[in-house]
């Protein structure tokens, strides 16, 4: 389904600021997999998702989605296959467009856009139905500008927009991290429901170990641009936060040990 072969990514290659962000990543993800991705800050999680989505091109390696080699495809072309939700709720919607205009934009993801009306009257009922499922009362506000909505409402709308046209791959980059705990939980449950309902192949970055364990059928831990841990099936099911923390601190501990060595 998704196959990453030898993905290497540097930032500012050859300069003093050089960052080695992805270190030869090999990863096969099956259709319908829900993968949670964890790792410390700067581990390369966002960079990995960006390479899949086409925000960055890798320095070497190959990206195959649905048996198509998309390595050289620009971001807009990959939109046919991929939907994304970002951490910042402001990034997923157009503030000065109305709710229905935003949904109409999303309902054409990866399709040709022509001179037909942007918002068609026959779409409105469908939009309203879908908004009703959110239970936030947005179905009464089709003509409100999205800039008027709260961060949580905007993120819920973004989730809906990302999935109203079924994507082959759904990429979530800490998409609840900027929300208050209650709203975050609602969006998380919404995510789970949508992913389950449409059996979406999903990668979800999270910094919450509990979420990483309780959601999805596979867990990946990145560290310094490499895959440190890759747990599936029974292994993932039986995982506890304690196991995971132990693994996590083992990697951090190595660093600390190294630091103290250098200091001595």
């Amino acid at each position: 389904m998704i196959s990453l072969n030898g993905i290497v990514k540097y930032f500012h290659k050859g300069s003093v600021n050089e960052v080695f962000a992805l270190d030869n990543i090999d990863l096969q993800i099956n259709e319908g997999d829900f993968v949670t991705v964890i790792g410390s800050n700067g581990a390369g999680k966002s960079t990995l998702l960006n390479c899949i989505a086409g925000g960055f091109f890798p320095d070497s390696g190959k990206i195959i989605i649905n048996s198509q080699d998309v390595t050289a495809w620009p971001e807009y072309k990959r939109a046919k296959l991929i939907s994304r939700v970002f951490q910042d709720p402001l990034l997923g919607t157009c503030p000065s467009a109305t709710i229905e205009q935003n949904m109409a934009l999303a309902s054409l993801r990866g399709k040709k856009r022509g001179l037909a009306r942007g918002v068609k009257s026959r779409d409105r009922d469908r939009f309203r139905e879908e908004l009703k499922q959110l239970g936030l009362g947005l179905d009464e506000r089709l003509l409100d500008k999205v800039g008027l909505l709260s961060g949580g409402q905007r993120q819920a709308l973004t989730m809906l927009m990302a999935t109203m046209l079924r994507p082959d791959v759904l990429l979530l980059d800490e998409h609840i991290a900027a929300l208050d705990p209650k709203t975050a939980n609602q969006i998380l449950l919404l995510t789970q429901e949508i992913v389950k309902q449409s059996r979406l192949t999903t990668l979800m970055i999270t910094h919450n170990m509990k979420h990483a364990i309780s959601f999805g059928n596979r867990l990946i831990m990145l560290h310094q641009g490499g895959i440190l841990l890759d747990l599936k099936g029974e292994e993932k099911k039986n995982l506890t936060v304690k196991d995971l923390l132990a693994q996590f601190y083992k990697t951090q501990g190595e660093e600390l040990a190294l630091d103290s060595l250098l200091l001595n």
Binding site: Y76, R84, L90, C94
Partner: protein, 295 residues
Amino acid sequence: MTWYAALGAVEQGLVYGIMVIGVYLTFRILDFPDLTVDGSLPLGASISAVAITHGVNPYLSLVIALAGGFLAGAVTAILNTKFKILHLLASILTMIALYSINIRIMSGPNVALLGQETVFDAVIGYGIPAHFAGLIIFGLFALIVLSFIVWFLGSEIGQAILAVGDNPQMIRSLGVNTDTIIILGVGLSNGLVALSGALVAQNQGAADVGMGIGTIVAGLASVIIGETLFGCNTIARAFIAALLGSVVYRLAIALALGLEFGGFRFNPSDLNLITAVLVISALIAPNLKKRLIQR
């Protein structure tokens, strides 16, 4: 201000209003400050004038002018999107290049249209007094352009144009090539500016390479006046406001030129200074207001 001067100002407001609609598209919708217009206005004028003197139908000459303006805008947008030159600089480069190109087109700094048929002759032919012909033709064209742009921005492509100015990252991840949209939008904007220039040339009976100087400042002034007086809640309202802003701006200028303070009078050549001061005060007024309120 005499009745005649006011009529002239409204006329000008309408014809330059087509330019202002173009400026609104780049500045406000696409968030792309574009100075190409100082070159594409005389470009449209030169193309139309030269075409007419070569026997081309005056209406067809408008279409050619529009296409020429589109091309000029597309060059600016390509310099920006494909070659990563800052939009302001890219547009200045195109504008400067257009100065030479316009002189080439006219084989000199200007072309006169004396005795040639223009789009105004048709109206005069229907027995309408000559001094109303401009008002009618300009009003008609302004209305057509206004309706077209509002219709176009409501289409699937148009909505994508709005989104590019609003949230480029989002619309890219929805599968829209933002470069193509910017080229289309800046091209369309300059096409309208060139159309405006062509109509001006046919009305005043000449195209001149210098007639574009200050276009962008006048355009901005009109946009700001329009937004302030008439609001910009919806797309339709915003573009109507831009057109009306242009009329108010020309009336204000005519009023200023008619003022007299004990022997001192403004010259038409003071127009750019007056406009620049107007735009500057409109730009700093919100800041000033904030500071005063904070105190």
